[in-house]
């Protein structure tokens, strides 16, 4: 059987293509981006007419997927963990409406914050929504779980979550394909009030969800992805979730593992297995990538008298991703003495590319702000967040998508002047427009700089939804035309550019400045294509 070398992300995408998916929706975000990228670039997906759609944000993606499911077709929606915060409203309510065509929500978590602002654990969202959650252990499971998840989703008319973490998303291994399934045809829900969450109907739908909980437990107990491996040494029982299983097994390549192991890859937790392990073993070690969700629920508020080791008692450090070495230490397995990083090594933080338009924008902004005290610039999430670091040190915040504009508004309301927001074009259309409307409505004294590089650069150049009509959007939101200023951020225009910023900093109202120049990576990409 031919094996394909696929990232976990790509295995999920291929699994979806082979499982009769009709559309995938997403907003790009590390480590989830490559799922939708794979479908978007797949010739097979094109031949099968599968829609791969980059949405304006995760909420619009989730809602579009729910509509696709309403129409009876199979759909997937993908996002990074913090993206699920943005999509939380439709996500939670979709568990009440239920699904019609199979619907899978993929949340890619980033423990250790390789490319994120926190390490929240999406399994809690799944539990919150009371829906089944699948957590693959390897690339083959990524592929196999998708068709299983679609079937499960359609069996119970419920969205199903797949939760992965960075190392699963961005690691390659061999994957074997299975025969493909046809797509569903359009078929509306039998009950046409199913999706109407008026209180009277929402209560009925909620009861239906509650009524399905026992079935979800039963499905987990019978799941091919949850496995119980018995062992002779009952002094310790081990529970693993997702890729933590790999780190455990890595430590038993040369010596036999005699402890019973419960590998969990489907939630709610498989109750019979958990009961067996706890009743038979003296101590339980929980290895899970992310927050101690399993550990906390087993421990209970009163600790229940069961001896449990994990992240909460310090057997494993609470934060950060696991690895084979941490797991070895938790098991008391000796680890090799390792060299330290030599002192001569210095940090190499990410940097703006040579020729990046943001460099020129920050140089102009810094000069315009030179006469003011420091600490006046709220910013956002994208390549330009690197502007917080040396040599620019231009920005003072990065919290969540769109927060720059609304934080600047709040600070302006408090009397800070000037209050500046720096936001990228993609982030602006993702979640900045509503905040700008707030500023316009309240005539706030803010200067908003929308860095328009015509792409979603940080995640690899996905389309930017405001490209070509940012001016019209800003004007349409009610910003006065004479205070919408566009300039080209190049070194030659520096003097002119910083004076434009200076003028707008002096204006006591809403101004929007749009430095416009294509991302240098995208320009180079285009040039390479052209001269190939």
């Amino acid at each position: 059987m031919q094996k394909l070398m696929l990232l976990g992300d790509e295995a999920i995408a291929l699994g979806a293509i082979d499982s009769g998916m009709s559309a995938i929706y997403a907003y790009p975000g590390t480590p989830s981006t490559e799922i939708t990228e794979y479908v978007a670039h797949s010739r097979e997906a094109k031949e099968k007419n599968i829609l791969a759609s980059w949405s304006t944000n995760e909420k619009t993606a989730m809602e579009a997927a729910l509509g696709m499911s309403y129409a009876g077709k199979r759909t997937m929606v993908c996002m990074k963990h913090v993206g699920l915060n943005v999509a939380a409203d439709p996500f939670i309510n979709a568990s009440i409406t239920g699904a019609n065509g199979g619907m899978i929500v993929v949340a890619a978590d980033d423990p250790s914050m390789h490319s994120s602002q926190n390490e929240q654990d999406s399994r809690f969202y799944g539990k919150f929504a009371m829906i089944p959650v699948l957590e693959p252990t390897n690339q083959q499971e990524c592929y196999d779980m998708v068709s299983y998840a679609f079937d499960l989703s359609e069996k119970y008319s419920i969205p199903v979550m797949m939760r992965i973490t960075t190392r699963m998303a961005h690691s390659r291994a061999g994957v074997v394909r299975k025969p493909a399934r046809e797509q569903n045809s359009i078929k509306l829900p039998v009950n046409l009030i199913q999706y109407v969450l008026l209180p009277g109907n929402a209560r009925k739908q909620y009861k239906k969800l509650l009524g399905n909980q026992q079935s979800f437990f039963d499905e987990s107990a019978a799941s091919p992805f949850n496995k119980y491996f018995d062992g002779t040494d009952k002094s310790l029982g081990i529970i693993t979730s997702g890729i933590a299983y790999n780190y455990l097994m890595e430590n038993f390549q040369d010596n036999k593992l005699n402890f019973p192991v419960l590998k969990i890859s489907q939630y709610p937790m498989p109750r019979p297995f958990v009961e067996k392990l706890i009743s038979e073993c003296k101590e339980i070690l929980v290895l899970e990538e992310g927050y101690p969700m399993i550990e906390e629920s087993l421990r209970g508020f009163l600790n229940n008298g069961i001896r449990i080791k994990g992240r909460m008692d310090g057997t494993l450090v609470f934060e950060g991703e696991l690895n084979p070495t941490k797991v070895a230490a938790a098991l008391g397995i000796p680890v090799p003495q390792i060299a330290n990083i030599p002192e001569v090594v210095t940090n190499r933080p990410p940097a703006l590319c040579s020729g990046c338009p943001h460099i020129d924008s920050y140089l102009a902004l810094n000069q315009a702000l030179d006469k003011y005290a420091k600490g006046l610039v709220f910013s956002d999430i994208g390549c330009y967040t690197i502007g917080a670091l040396k040599p620019f040190e231009s920005i003072n915040s990065c919290v969540d998508m769109g927060a720059s504009i609304t934080m600047a508004k709040g600070a302006a309301d408090a009397g800070l002047s000037p209050a500046v927001a720096v936001i990228g074009d993609g982030t602006f259309t993702h979640s900045g427009m509503t905040g700008l409307l707030d500023c316009v409505k309240h005539k706030s004294n803010v200067t908003v700089i929308i860095l328009d590089n015509k792409t979603t650069a940080m995640t690899g150049g996905q389309p930017s939804h405001g490209d070509g009509h940012l001016f019209d959007i800003v004007k349409g939101l009610g910003v006065e035309e004479e205070h919408i200023r566009i300039f080209k951020p190049i070194r030659k225009n520096h003097d002119e550019n910083y004076r434009i910023i200076e003028e707008e900093l002096n204006y006591k109202g809403v101004s929007v400045i749009i430095p416009t120049r294509e991302c240098i990576v995208e320009t180079n990409k285009r040039m390479r294509e052209k001269f190939k």
């Binding site: 291994a173 061999g174 990083i341 940097a351």
Partner: protein
Amino acid sequence: MKEDIILAGVGGQGILSIAAVIGSAALEIGMYMKQSEVHGMSQRGGDVMSNLRIADHEIFSDLIPCGKADLIISVEPMEALRHLPMLSHDGWLITNSTPFKNTLDYPDVDKIMATLEKIPNHIVIDADKIAKDLGSTMSANMVILGAACPFLDNVCLDIENGIRNIFGRKGEKVIKSNMDALKAGREYTTALLKKQTIKI
């Protein structure tokens, strides 16, 4: 039989191409392989690394345990040192000597070289210069891979074949310049080991 490799460098230096070539060669002979890589923010000129694992048996962890890597292959000298805690006691470190200075406080290059010299098993090669002399500055990463080739022989990989697989679509010219770079790197290491009468 296994080979655990840390690939190190700076975002954009081509370590993923090295990984792809080795990986393709491994697949060709039916080996198991796992390769974890870094995407996202660090790709913008930050330090990047990839864990590449090849074995004739099932591989569990996508990450190599600390202190158990057989090889560190680095396209930048300081980045080679950053991953030293991953290297096993008898492991080899193969690195480019040309620094990539994109930070304000890049250390004194002599100090980096002196630290590299203290590592028991190391190959330091000026891959940028060799690639330039070959007329192909873009293939410095393949010079480094070539320098690591003698250490990959024990897993019987046909790296040339890997190059053909990965660069095949780009035409004969690109294949040839990568092959030349690979050969020059391999010859450098072979000569060095011979001079020092080291058997690996």
